[in-house]
């Protein structure tokens, strides 16, 4: 671990990259197992599932940044564990991103 100390890993960012890697792996497997031709959606461009995943991820980043910039990250609730774990309103942005991802996969 000493050798990669400069990379400054945190559990959260590690989880993020593991999730992205898993998503890419799953999508690759899915593309081989159930190939799907390109399709033209509401953007008027031909997209594959990979394109839609990319769009969803970019959209998620934009939604989270917009939320931080416009609304902020004040706590909206506290979990009654120990001294109480506060839940940031940023999770609402995550929820919106998930909905947006579903929408992107269906209509784009």
């Amino acid at each position: 671990m000493e050798g990669i100390a400069w990379m400054a890993w945190t559990p959260v960012t590690a989880a993020l990259f593991v999730a992205v890697a898993l998503a890419l792996g799953a999508m690759s497997w899915f593309a081989l197992a159930r190939p799907q031709p390109e399709r033209v959606g509401i953007l008027g461009i031909a997209t594959t599932r990979g394109d839609r995943l990319f769009l969803s991820l970019v959209l998620a980043a934009v939604i989270h940044l917009a939320w931080i910039g416009l609304i902020g990250t004040a706590p909206i609730a506290a979990l009654p564990i120990g001294e109480g774990i506060e839940i940031s309103s940023l999770w609402l942005a995550t929820a919106i991103s998930l909905v947006a991802a579903v929408v992107v996969f269906r209509v784009v």
Partner: protein, 300 residues
């Protein structure tokens, strides 16, 4: 003969994959890691959550103020540069000869600025604009204008814009020229039979035929000017004051001048997101333009 599906060739991509992982993915992961932490050196990091992003996206803070100021500055620069270079490129392309020795000559002359390293372009204009030993600076001052790009923000902007126009209009012109060359003579013959004016020919034939090249030129120039670093850094160093500090210059100041790795990481990720979105638009337009052209070519 039946074709056997064989995807093993994909394994040939593995070396590239390894190199990209080493040179791009690992540094990118590190930047993401830095963006949620603070450090005071010695590889000691402290969790900061989305704190840097909050500061970055709030124009009221020092970091946010600097980020938005340099962002608007950069967008203004890109807008001005596009507004000059695209029409100028079209005009140059229209004025270029269609045949004879002039074609090769003008192509070489136009390509010259594109061949000069960016650092050298900066140095050329840095000296060219000086009022004591620079030809342009001296001449402009002798004409009675008080021109000094080191002290006056407007002069600094003018210098950088003129430099960028000098450096990159050729690219737009060359792209437009390629678009013009692809128009068959039949179109012009039909236009002359109809008695179309020069302007009508431009509006109805040349401009529509150049549309795709122009979109590509505009996006290419936008991206390049949005990521500009070397030339303004060499000419003005971001000054006077902060007047020509574009995002990439601000980022380098933050990361390598102040060593605020967390702030710089958050800023570079937001910067990268903007670039990724523009790149995606660029890529989509390019591939779709190609498909349309293929489709048009297939029709009888």
């Amino acid at each position: 003969m039946e074709k056997i599906p064989n995807q093993k060739a994909w394994f040939l991509v593995l070396p590239v994959f390894a190199i990209v992982a080493f040179s791009a993915v690992i540094p990118l992961m590190t930047v993401v890691n830095y963006s949620v932490q603070d450090t005071f050196g010695n590889n000691k990091f402290f969790w900061n959550g989305v704190g840097w992003y909050q500061e970055l996206l709030d124009p009221g803070t020092e970091l946010g103020g600097r980020f938005f100021a340099s962002l608007w500055r950069n967008l203004a620069f890109s807008g001005i540069v596009l507004a000059i270079e695209i029409p100028l490129g079209i005009v140059i392309a229209l004025a270029m000869p269609r045949e004879g020795w002039g074609v090769a000559f003008s192509l070489v002359v136009l390509a010259l600025p594109l061949l000069i390293p960016w650092n050298v372009v900066g140095t050329i204009w840095q000296i060219f604009g000086r009022s004591d030993i620079g030809l342009m600076g001296w001449a402009v001052n002798r004409l009675g204008f008080d021109y000094n790009y080191v002290a006056n923000p407007i002069d600094a902007w003018l210098t950088i814009i003129v430099m960028d126009v000098w450096h990159w209009s050729s690219l737009v012109a060359l792209l437009c020229y390629a678009g013009l060359k692809s128009i068959p003579d039949a179109y012009y013959q039909a236009a002359s039979i109809d008695g179309a004016s020069r302007w009508a020919v431009f509006k109805a034939i040349q401009l529509p035929k150049m549309r795709h090249v122009l979109v590509i030129a505009a996006l290419l120039r936008f991206m390049d000017s949005f990521m500009i670093y070397t030339e303004p850094f060499v000419v003005t160093g971001g000054g006077p004051g902060n007047s020509t500090t574009f995002i990439s210059i601000e980022l380098v100041k933050l990361a390598l001048g102040q060593f605020d790795l967390g702030k710089a990481a958050a800023m570079s990720l937001v910067y990268m997101l903007i670039i990724i979105i523009v790149c995606w638009v660029f890529f989509t337009v390019m591939t779709n333009a190609g498909q349309e052209r293929r489709g048009a070519g297939g029709e009888p």
